[in-house]
């Protein structure tokens, strides 16, 4: 069998491109089946989500939790850990920020916002530390623990907004409004875009420095690539894993915090519409690259925010978008093996 020779510079970005391209291609087939024109549909989709003012604001709003949570999955992945718990960590982060937003009153926004963000980070980090501890010290597979902790977190928040945190007299389970001083400002007036995206981008930049330029990032990669060699060189693999899982939880927690503080201003029973699961796909698709995560979360956010418009203007059911997302994830697996084979060849 002949292998296609791939230039080494192209290699890292090739798999995500193949995955996204193939998904859009198969998605086009689905749109045709639904009786619409793929070109019209895709034009509507990306024009709306990327080039209109309101639509772009909407895209940024959806990108914020996707980016933060994906960064969390990415950090864990760099240390060889599979964090499937982004969803639960988002819920915990939302809870942390909501508690600070509800019960801390009368301090200026300049203090209140960072404090609420920090609370979100800390709650998420603690939620991430649980599987980290179990993996590092007890050897329990983190895939299972993080996955199961999702359900605990979702049900915990559900209980809290139905009982102790519920707004008195509210028709459905949600908390009262958080203090004005804990709300993130809107950055594109008239749209939904809030300052959370700035927080996310700054965090992405900091994380890049941490992973690529700092000794801790080096340590994380060493543990991810070869835990045995790391241990023989005096690195504490256990501590690295616990740290990384906490950091991962913290980043997802920040995502939950920005959802509460920038978009909803309350703690609702449903905090996240599957951002934590999309994040897994995004992080895998980006193969450890922070820049890749930024771009891929933008793509996923655009899909989400353009979907409604596509349904309206091109008559394509919104489920096609879910299919494209699903296909993208499916093609990740394929694209990863493509990458591996050409790696073996070179």
């Amino acid at each position: 069998m002949n292998m296609i020779r791939v230039h080494p510079v192209v290699l890292p970005i090739l798999p995500p491109l193949i995955a996204i391209g193939s998904a859009l291609l198969v998605g086009a087939g689905l749109i045709l089946l639904a009786g619409a024109s793929p070109i019209t549909a895709y034009t509507a989709l990306f024009q709306e989500s990327l080039s209109t003012y309101f639509g772009f604001g909407n895209t940024l709003t959806k990108m914020t939790p996707l980016l933060l949570t994906s960064l969390g999955v990415l950090v864990a992945l760099r240390a060889g850990q599979f964090n499937i718990g982004g969803e639960g960590q988002i819920y915990l982060g939302a809870l942390g920020s909501a508690v600070v937003g509800l019960y801390v009153q009368g301090i200026p926004a300049l203090i209140h916002i960072p404090l609420a963000l920090f609370a979100g980070f800390s709650f998420g980090a603690l939620w991430g530390l649980i599987p980290g501890y179990l993996k590092a010290i007890r050897g329990v597979n983190e895939v299972i623990t993080t996955l199961l902790l999702n359900y605990i977190a979702i049900n915990l928040v559900s209980y809290l907004v139905q009982h102790p945190l519920q707004e008195p007299g509210a028709p459905s389970p949600y908390s009262p409004l958080i203090a004005k001083t804990a709300q993130l400002p809107i950055i594109l007036p008239g749209s939904l875009a809030h300052a959370g995206i700035l927080v996310a981008l700054v965090v992405a930049g900091l994380l890049w420095v941490l992973l690529v330029r700092s000794p801790l990032g080096y340590q994380i990669s060493a543990v991810g690539f070869n835990p045995i060699a790391s241990r023989y060189s005096g690195i504490s693999v256990e501590r690295t894993i616990m740290l990384v899982m906490s950091l991962a939880g913290g980043l997802a927690g920040l995502a939950g915090a920005t959802e509460v503080m920038g978009l909803k201003y309350r703690l609702f029973e449903v905090v996240s519409s599957g951002y934590g699961f999309d994040a897994i796909a995004i992080a895998f698709l980006s193969r450890g690259s922070v820049l890749g995560v930024v771009l891929t979360s933008l793509f996923f956010a655009a899909l989400r925010s353009g979907a409604n418009v596509m349904q309206r203007s091109a008559g394509v059911p919104i489920t096609v978008i879910y299919a494209i997302q699903g296909l993208t994830m499916l093609f990740i697996a394929i694209s990863l093996t493509v990458g591996r084979h050409s790696h073996l060849k070179t």
Binding site: V209, R213, S214, P215, G217, Y218, Q219, S221, A222, F225, N226, I228, A229, S230, R231, Y232, S233, G234
Partner: protein, 486 residues
Amino acid sequence: MPYLRLEGITKCFGSFIANDNINLSVESGEIHAILGENGAGKTTLMNIISGLYQPDPGKIYLQEKLVKMRSPSEAIKLGIGMLHQHFVLVPQLTVTENIILGTLNGLQINLRQKHLEIAALSQTYGLEIEPTARVGDLPVGVQQRVEILKLLYRQAKLLILDEPTAVLTPREVELLINILRQLAACGHTIMFISHKLQEVIKLCDTVTVLRRGKVVANVSTKETTPQQLATLMVEREIALELHKSPVSLGKVVLSVQNLHVANQQGIVAVRDVSFELHSGEVLGIAGVDGNGQRELADAIAGLQTINQGKIQLNRKSLGYIPEDRQTIGLVLQFSIAQNLILKAFKKFPFCHRFLLQREAIRNHAQSVIQLFDIRAMGADVKVSQLSGGNQQKVVLARELTETPMLIVAMQPTRGLDVGATKAVQQRLLAERDRGAAIVYISTELEEIMAMSDRIAVMYEGEFVAVLDAQRTTVEEIGLLMGGGKR
């Protein structure tokens, strides 16, 4: 009429000749030992007989009929079964299920009847076994019996056992020997691979000695001695000339007292080992693989918990060259420069103001690449792309740049060619002349002889002897390594 006859078997891997024109015949009902050092070509030969490899030229006759086997499943159809060193069992399944696995074609299975069949089969050969037991719950010795039963169930007439005693306790070895005798009495032919001399003499009828892929002797065990076998097994020619200055002992750098260490399975791997090592001295530790050398080395390096006893050294001044450079010594996905700072990445000048200093890391790598003669296009080359010798130089460079007072080197030349071996050895001897104390662990006798000032022989976790390298002989060490008395 011989049961199995090999004629001119040759097998090459690239330019390396693993088996060189091997002629051999094994009688029916015979227990035939294949003896040789690591890398002598024993396993390659057995893989050819069991159908895993095809000989380049060469013929295999079974009961004087020429046979060709393209896979292990064809070999088993001809009645040739191999018992591998590492078991291939499904721990969650019962004994019976493991044995019949892969032999059934239909959709139905009568497990109760199979249990009875297996029970009957095991009784025929005196193999005590409970067919309904879960394999994962059984001790290693019994698991091995399951493997043997698997072969018998598939009607194997010729059994090949690759170092079957390596994983067993002395008591289990006794049981295995009885089982094998019983099998031979029932007309099975057995090929027994080993490097333990005592066992071979005790169990086998004939022994073929391999050295560097060639048959060097084919003798009856009644007419030979462990002494003679050791001499045959070991190479006489001196592989390398090393320049070694006379030893000048300094103060004690490492002191080990009554050390007991258990391995990861909880089995005692190091028993009551005591020694002292002086600055400027090389202590060679000879022994067959898996006699506690790794656990001893890891314990000295502080990577393994000690059950009993004491180790005294300054761990800050320790260089450790681990056994397997690719899985333990290096992070293969990292560049040369990154690997060189694996132990020092938090320290100045590599880390300053909380950030890694690329310039300093690069400069360090470039000077080290020159100093240790690492052949690579540059400091940013991934170590996975380097040859084995150059990979080992990266490990050496990392471990030796801080001029440690104690160096523990575990099989540092394994898999290296002659030139790279010499480079590594000379580098270590230079460290000795600088005043470092070295623990040099190897399974290669010639290497131990060439490098050491004192030689400890390790057998089943114990130091069975500590000898002066000037006064001992390769034969004596070979004999001790195989568990022979002095």
